[in-house]
């Protein structure tokens, strides 16, 4: 029960697209160690049709570029028309995978989606994106990559009968080697530090002293 919240929103959107008759199958993918199986099962319990588990020795070497390359390989064999991802993972907050896989595939991308509508002829998708200045509406030719933001939808609960049914749905396991992808450690974590503790405030005696400190110590101006 610990699916990344943005991914959960992406799964929910995929299910709604299928329920609206615009898709025939929802496949959920997760990459990493054995814990992924539980996450995939949650997706299956929500209503996805089948699962794909890319098994790696340890999840810590799976940086966004590696995930994007693995997704690219899966896309070439699965041939989906729409790739839905959460906008970012809440452990690393990278916000890169969706964009990278779109680049690798040469597909159009719409990130931070707050609304997704597939056209009637299923050839394009209209996406409202949350950007700094407001909402941007763009239309993309399918196949495309869309990443989900918080306000896209509220994911459904996995009900007990669906969890029971999900145990019977298939999860296919595949390794990076079988996909012909080499996972390199292109990133090396040198150090992780907590932010510095907030220092206590300083009481100043006059406005002049305040200005002096702002200029010479805080260097605000």
């Amino acid at each position: 029960m610990s699916m990344n919240p943005f991914c959960e929103i992406a799964v929910e959107e995929a299910l709604r697209i299928k329920e609206a008759g615009r898709a025939s199958e929802v496949v959920v993918v997760s990459m990493g160690g054995e814990q992924c199986v539980e996450t995939i099962r949650t997706g299956l319990a929500m209503g996805a049709d089948r699962g794909l588990h890319v098994i790696t020795q340890d999840s810590s070497s799976l940086f966004p570029l590696a995930v994007a390359k693995l997704l690219q390989a899966l896309v070439s064999s699965e041939q989906p028309r729409l790739l839905l991802l959460g906008k970012q993972a809440i452990d690393d907050d990278c916000n890169q995978t969706g964009q990278m896989v779109a680049g690798l595939l040469g597909w159009p991308q719409a990130t931070f989606a707050s609304k997704v509508s597939i056209s009637d002829d299923k050839e394009s998708v209209c996406v409202e994106r949350e950007v700094d200045g407001g909402i941007e509406t763009i239309q993309l030719q399918l196949p495309a990559v869309v990443t989900a933001d918080l306000r896209l939808n509220t994911p459904r609960y996995a009900t007990l009968p669906n969890i029971m049914k999900a145990k019977k749905k298939s999860i296919q396991r595949v390794t990076p080697e079988e996909l012909n992808v080499v996972i390199g450690s292109d990133l090396e974590v040198l150090e992780v530090t907590e932010p510095p503790k907030r220092k206590a405030g300083v009481m100043v005696a006059s406005v002049d002293e305040l200005l002096d400190k702002l200029k010479n110590e805080a260097r605000v101006f």
Binding site: M1, S2, T154, P155, R156, Y157, L160, P161, I163, M164
Partner: protein, 538 residues
């Protein structure tokens, strides 16, 4: 959904019962469907305990548990017992015989038991709260999970899912101390009256797991203290256990029959850590997890009849904690084993309706009964104060071992033990230093507790006017002090009048409020499944 056996609660008792049922199925070549529902988000999320573990029941369940990789690895290496004053620590002979026992995280062990149960074919559903007992003509026929997706105002949200009925030929309630459905069943079938038992008595345990410096780590070190910071009228004590991985479990247990409404078990625990003999053990370390849970202290005198039509109570829902030993996991698991063996027998016979009456007999013939009987006079002796209590305990422990034909009774129930606030003075607790002691909300963050915000409060008031009329005036709003999660706060409203605010989202599911509220006005009910704390190493 229909099952042969429905078990509420994936704790030591519930999982031991589930595993034993499947083991018997394998051995006797029978098939029984077993379902366990668990309100925590994961198996183990709501499990909190000291814990110095006596492995006898685990060995009965899995004789080769060591080989199978059970997370029971650190044998007790030192067993210390101190009487604390505000400045000193006086070593006393340890009343415990912990040789052969292990320092563990019960949450970790339960998670391991969960994987073993699933391997054997038990269906476990975490994230689902059993909120209702299903009856058919006075017989328990199963439980129902609560509806999910109801908004704070009671309306159905777009994510609404109706709860499910899980029917079982037999239902085992393994909800732990002060179980929500268990208490209902005890009342309905008058199970305490049936066994001639007294009321249950309780304590609240506040616990942290620290990660300490390598030089301070002594795996297997076990320490218990009595005395300061609690006064001679308040029963309780602390524990400090060194686990694996430089982790140290430390906490304070305060009996809920304390009299001073100004007492805050949480603040007493923070104070305790500052003792000159305790503080150095934790300095330089950091807190990894925090939590709290009530536990049974009634022992032998409070055991209700554990069988009712259609099911049984196992584990702390019935109450098998050996208080002087401060161990209950081994008896909980054993009761699960006994119930499972009885259930298997009855269900295999095929007689409908299945009856678990012989589980009650098996309990009385088991080592659980002998153990709890031998220990029965120790906790009640403390009703007379710390020194008489220690004296009687020593006598009982070393000499009479419960064989003398007297049984001390418990005093008043915990909720009637609190005296009015005008008889007491507020306690001036020291401010947290942020290094060894912490403010409650910082600690609460470390429990990983959370609930879906937009749901009705699961803490119900039978009469919403009573907190301001009774609790605030007579008891100085004591719930704002004993709750280890700051669920209850008295806040001035627009007219500057103090009113009770219930922050249900903070709840740790400890059940202290259900137990201690003097007018018994607060009722703990199950929130939406998957809410509550997220313990992994508690």
């Amino acid at each position: 959904m229909d099952y042969d056996v429905v078990i509420v609660g994936a704790g030591p008792a519930g999982l031991a019962a589930a595993i034993r049922l499947k083991q018997l199925c394998d051995r006797e070549k029978r098939e029984l469907s077993v379902c366990v529902v668990e309100k925590g988000a994961e198996v183990g999320s709501h499990i909190l305990s000291g814990n110095v573990f006596e492995p006898r029941s685990l060995t009965e369940l899995f004789p080769d548990w060591k080989k199978q990789g059970a997370p029971v690895e650190i044998p007790v290496s030192e067993d210390k017992f101190w009487l604390l004053s505000s400045k000193h620590a006086i070593p006393l002979p340890s009343p415990f015989r912990n040789h052969g026992n292990y320092v563990i995280s019960l949450s970790q062990l339960v998670r391991w038991l969960g994987t073993k149960a699933e391997e054997l074919g038990v269906e476990i559903y975490p994230g689902f709260s059993a909120s209702e007992v299903l009856y058919d003509d006075n017989r328990v026929v199963g439980i129902a999970t609560n509806d999910m997706g109801i908004a704070k105002n009671g309306c159905k949200k777009s994510t609404f899912q109706k709860g499910m009925e899980l029917r079982g030929r037999l239902t085992l309630l393994a909800e732990g101390c002060r179980g929500y459905l268990s208490e209902e069943v005890i009342r309905k079938y008058q199970l305490r009256k049936q066994s001639g038992a007294q009321h249950q008595t309780y304590a609240l345990g506040i616990k942290e797991v620290w990660e300490v410096e390598e030089s301070k780590h002594r795996p297997g070190f076990v320490l218990h203290t009595v005395g300061w910071p609690l006064n001679t009228k308040t029963y309780g004590g602390s524990f400090l256990y060194h686990m694996a991985n430089r982790q140290v479990a430390v906490g304070l247990v305060v009996a809920l029959d304390y009299q001073n409404p100004y007492l805050s078990p949480y603040e007493e625990y923070q104070r305790f850590k500052q003792h000159p003999s305790i503080r150095p053990m934790l300095e330089g370390g950091k807190v990894v997890q925090y939590g709290a849970r009530t536990l049974n202290e009634g022992g032998f005198q409070s055991i209700p009849k554990t069988v009712f039509p259609g099911g049984a109570l196992i584990g702390c829902s019935a109450g098998f904690v050996n208080v002087p030993k401060i161990k209950g996991a081994h008896t909980a698991m054993k009761s699960g084993l006994l119930a499972a063996e009885t259930a298997f027998e009855q269900l295999s016979k095929g007689s409908e309706p299945a009856k678990l009456d012989s589980y009650w007999e098996r309990l009385q013939n088991s080592w659980i009964w002998d153990e709890l009987n031998a220990a029965r006079n120790i906790r009640p002796a403390f009703h007379y104060g710390l020194l008489p209590g220690l004296a009687v305990s020593a006598f009982e422990h070393y000499i009479s071992k419960g064989k003398l034909p007297y049984t001390l009774k418990h005093g008043r129930p915990d909720h009637l033990s609190t005296e009015v606030s005008k008889k007491h003075k507020p306690i001036d607790y020291p401010k947290p230093d942020g290094v060894i002691s912490f403010d409650l909300l910082t600690s609460l963050y470390r429990s990983n507790t959370n609930h879906e915000h937009d749901q009705p409060s699961h803490l119900l008031l039978r009469d919403p006017s009573i907190p301001e009329k009774v609790n605030l005036i007579d008891y100085a709003g004591l719930e704002s002090r004993y709750c280890p999660a700051r669920v209850y706060e008295y806040i001035p409203d627009e007219n500057e009048k103090l009113t009770l605010q219930i922050n249900a989202q903070n709840c740790l599911h400890c059940k202290a409020c259900d137990i201690k509220d003097p007018p018994q006005n607060i009722k703990w009910t199950t929130p939406e499944g998957a809410g509550g704390p997220g313990y992994s190493i508690m």
